[in-house]
């Protein structure tokens, strides 16, 4: 199979109308909103140096905030506002997806429009403005008939810059729940599907270029008094807007939205759930690449209907509770989910994706280490590697306290590289994830946590409040519960780490279903 005939291209293509449509919709709305704010603002502040500097300064600071962070910040902000609105006016709104993305992107688009409008107007020959005054124009007439037309090329350049920025940055709105061309990129990066990454980048670039050229066409049309150019440019923009409406019409009314976080296992499981729903004759649509906090709030707010989370993640990260014995924790978790959020815990899938101390099997056997307790006396001469957050997480404190562990050295590492590093002996030990396929690949062993210092990370299926009593949904998912053991999940994750057509989450999910449904 060669690069061009790779079936992942056609897979990518079938997702294009949905991703592109959403991308255009969120970008153009944000651009229109940004323009509607920054253009009048520029006109208001242009002759007031203090206000002008403040406006440009604030817009400039916004610009320095990384796009992803800006988008991420709007989510909790809107969530709080939605809560207040619900409290005061009795109606809330969704803080998920479209709204935070539009607001953040609109803010992002303001600087070029603001700066270019002000610069363009200031750059006009004062003699011409004086002439406008001299022939008897009011300030408004001077602005509309003389200053704006003359500043138009500079203003349009600003709008075009804003358009390109917004379209590019909109790819980052995937983790806050807005479908965009970024879905290709996030999914592709996680599942090492470089076809998707390439496709997403190319599509976003092509869209940015197209919008830029359409705006350029309108600009030259206005400047050269060419009606044909203006009409053509506007038609192009209008066609894009129509294209964005297609996905919202195409989507069935009662579609189940299946969420997935940003790592491979989640993509596989959401594909598996979607496939089971479709097999039961239900319509399912994935919403992938969501941030860990975002996905939970989205479920609680009914923005998505179902996803798989891990008990320990919810307990420690979401609820910020102390680690409890396994049975009590799982029980308390179920009650808390139901009572506080209305979320139904349908059941567990049968495996855990927990943090675990992992080392090469041969070395463990040679040293006679089977449990973490066995490790304790030797730890002082050993080094350990973990991901970027592990050493600051409560689990690590808990392990160290329970077993009195103290390592010679703690290193932070990119998760993908940890396993190879421990297999090669670069570090003695890693804090890995129990369901990772690389454990099998490198013949590593997970040390037993006999004192239950690490909270349970059972994979559990969660349903949104409005789907709590949806029998069709629970029936369709019932066959998955308790059926996926750690070996199956590891094997599936390992398959998905490959880089060919059989490693797409859909293909791996089908393979996993075939394996557990024997």
């Amino acid at each position: 199979m060669n690069f061009v005939s790779d079936p992942r291209w056609s897979d990518a293509l079938t997702r294009l109308p949905d991703y592109l449509g959403n991308h255009v919709r969120v970008s153009l709305t944000a651009l229109a909103l940004g323009l509607a704010i920054s253009f009048p603002l520029a006109l208001m502040v242009r002759r007031k140096p203090v206000l002008r500097d403040i406006a440009l300064g604030v817009a400039g600071i916004v610009q320095t905030v990384p796009g992803l962070a800006l988008l991420a910040l709007f989510y909790p902000l809107l969530l709080a506002l939605a809560g207040l609105s619900l409290q005061w006016f009795g109606t809330g709104f969704s803080a998920f997806g479209f709204l935070p993305a539009v607001l953040a992107l609109a803010l992002y688009s303001m600087l070029p429009v603001l700066r270019n409008t002000i610069t363009g107007l200031q750059g006009i020959d004062p003699a011409i403005i004086e002439a406008a005054e001299g022939v008897g124009m009011t300030q408004r007439q001077s602005l509309v008939m003389v200053e704006l037309p003359l500043a138009l090329p500079v203003i349009m350049a600003g709008i075009r810059t804003a358009a390109v920025w917004v379209i590019g940055t909109a790819t980052l709105s995937t983790p806050i729940g807005q479908t965009s061309l970024g879905n290709y990129i996030f999914a592709g990066l996680q599942t090492q599907n470089w076809v998707f990454v390439l496709f997403g980048c190319a599509a976003a670039a092509a869209l940015a270029l197209a919008v830029d050229q359409l705006l350029a066409l309108i600009e030259t049309g206005v400047r050269r008094h060419s009606r044909a150019r203006i009409v053509l440019g506007c038609l192009g923009i209008a066609a894009l807007i129509v294209a964005t409406l297609v996905p919202s019409f195409a989507r069935a009314k009662n579609t189940y939205i299946v969420g997935a976080k940003t790592f491979t296992e989640q993509y596989i499981l959401s594909s598996l759930i979607a496939q089971r729903l479709q097999a039961a004759g239900l319509s399912a649509s994935p919403r992938e690449g969501l941030g860990s906090a975002v996905i939970f709030e989205a479920l609680a707010a009914n923005d998505i209907d179902v996803y798989v989370d891990y008990s320990g993640t919810l307990w420690v990260n979401q609820f910020r509770r102390e680690i409890e014995p396994r049975a009590k924790l799982l029980d308390d978790l179920k009650t808390t989910l139901k009572e506080k959020y209305g979320i139904t815990q349908l059941g567990d899938l049968g495996f855990e994706n927990a943090y675990a101390l992992v080392m090469p099997r041969k070395r463990a056997e040679a040293l006679g280490i089977r449990t973490i307790a066995d490790l304790a006396p030797l730890a002082g001469s050993m080094s350990i590697a973990g991901d970027y957050e592990f050493f600051s997480r409560p689990e690590w404190t808990s392990i160290k306290q329970a077993y009195g562990l103290s390592f010679r050295r703690e290193r932070q590492m990119q998760p993908d590289f940890m396993y190879a590093a421990v297999a090669a002996g670069d570090v003695d030990m890693i804090a890995g994830y129990t369901s990772d396929g690389l454990i099998a690949k490198y013949d590593l062993v997970v040390l037993e946590d006999t004192k239950a210092a690490i909270p349970p990370y059972d994979a559990i299926v969660l349903l949104s409040p409005r789907r709590a009593d949806d029998a069709k949904l629970s029936d369709a998912l019932q066959p998955l519960l308790g059926r996926i053991d750690i070996a199956a999940m590891r094997a599936a994750n390992l398959r998905a780490a490959g880089n060919d057509s059989t490693s797409s989450p859909d293909a791996v999910a089908r393979w996993l279903w075939a394996r557990i449904n024997k």
Binding site: I128, E130, A131, G134, V135, G136, Q141, M145, L150
Partner: protein, 261 residues
């Protein structure tokens, strides 16, 4: 002409810029009679441009009064005042994004004239200032300096003003064009019974075109009168200004055979 009622009157006018630090006009009184062609001569910074702009209230005086048609301009709507007064800017001041027709028709358009009427008026003015009708749809950058200034004159006349203010209108033109345009304007001034105030730094141009010349220096009016009256002035600066055209005229008389020679 001095006996006629003044159309524009400056009464003890003072004006400073930069919060009083730069004095542009210092107690200037000057009357411009209806139908008169007055040239204001002075170097840069003499206050002549300030004097011109006071007349259509592009600026307002700090002290004293400016009257147009007998009314204090402070009591007149500045927009209406400006639309009723023609203004020719230094090197044209044309709107670069508008055609010749668009530039000429701007004041009637602002006054709300119907499109057809504006179009007819534009054609009429193009003929009057001796442009070609084929220039109608050209843009200012496609015209020569002289053509641009003719458009400037046509634009100033489009609203059928009684008063035309000209800010060094012919300064940037070559001598031949300048002479032709000056003569053409002089004819328009006479034919339409206009009252014209033209500022210039060129005494020869002032003497040749205007009925009367006012001389400004450092914000003060140092002399005013016809060529003959000025030549009798005892003011040293006026004498200095008159010296150049005198010397040139003398030299030219010697060099060129006269018509009747």
């Amino acid at each position: 002409m001095n006996n006629a009622a003044p159309l524009i009157a400056y009464e003890n006018v003072g004006k400073s810029f930069e919060q009083g630090r730069a004095k542009a006009l210092d107690d200037v009184s000057l009357r411009v009679a209806a139908g008169e062609f007055l040239a204001v001569v002075g170097g840069s910074g003499s206050g002549k441009t300030t004097l011109l702009r006071l007349a259509n209230r592009l600026i307002t005086p700090d002290s004293g009064t400016v009257r147009v048609h007998g009314d204090d301009v402070r009591n007149v709507d500045p927009i209406r005042l400006r639309r009723s007064i023609g203004y020719v800017f230094q090197s044209g001041g044309l709107f670069p994004h508008m055609t010749v027709a668009g530039n000429i028709g701007i004041t009637p358009r602002l006054l709300g004239a119907p499109v057809q009427e504006i179009s007819a008026r534009v054609d009429e003015l193009i003929d009057l200032v001796r442009l070609e009708r084929s220039h109608r749809d050209r843009f200012p950058h496609e015209l020569s300096g002289g053509q641009r200034q003719r458009v400037g004159v046509a634009r100033a006349l489009a609203g059928k003003p009684k008063i035309v203010l000209m800010d060094e209108p012919f300064g940037a033109l070559d001598p031949l064009t300048r002479d032709a345009l000056g003569e053409d304007y002089r004819a328009l001034h006479r034919n339409f019974g206009l009252t014209t105030v033209m500022i210039t730094h060129d005494m020869a141009e002032a003497l040749l075109l205007a009925d009367r010349v006012a001389v400004m220096r450092a914000g003060r009016l140092v002399a005013q009168g016809t060529a003959r009256e000025l030549s009798q002035s005892t003011d040293a600066y006026v004498g200095e200004l008159l010296n150049t055209p005198r010397r040139q005229a003398e030299r030219l008389r010697q060099l060129l055979p006269m018509d009747d020679a």
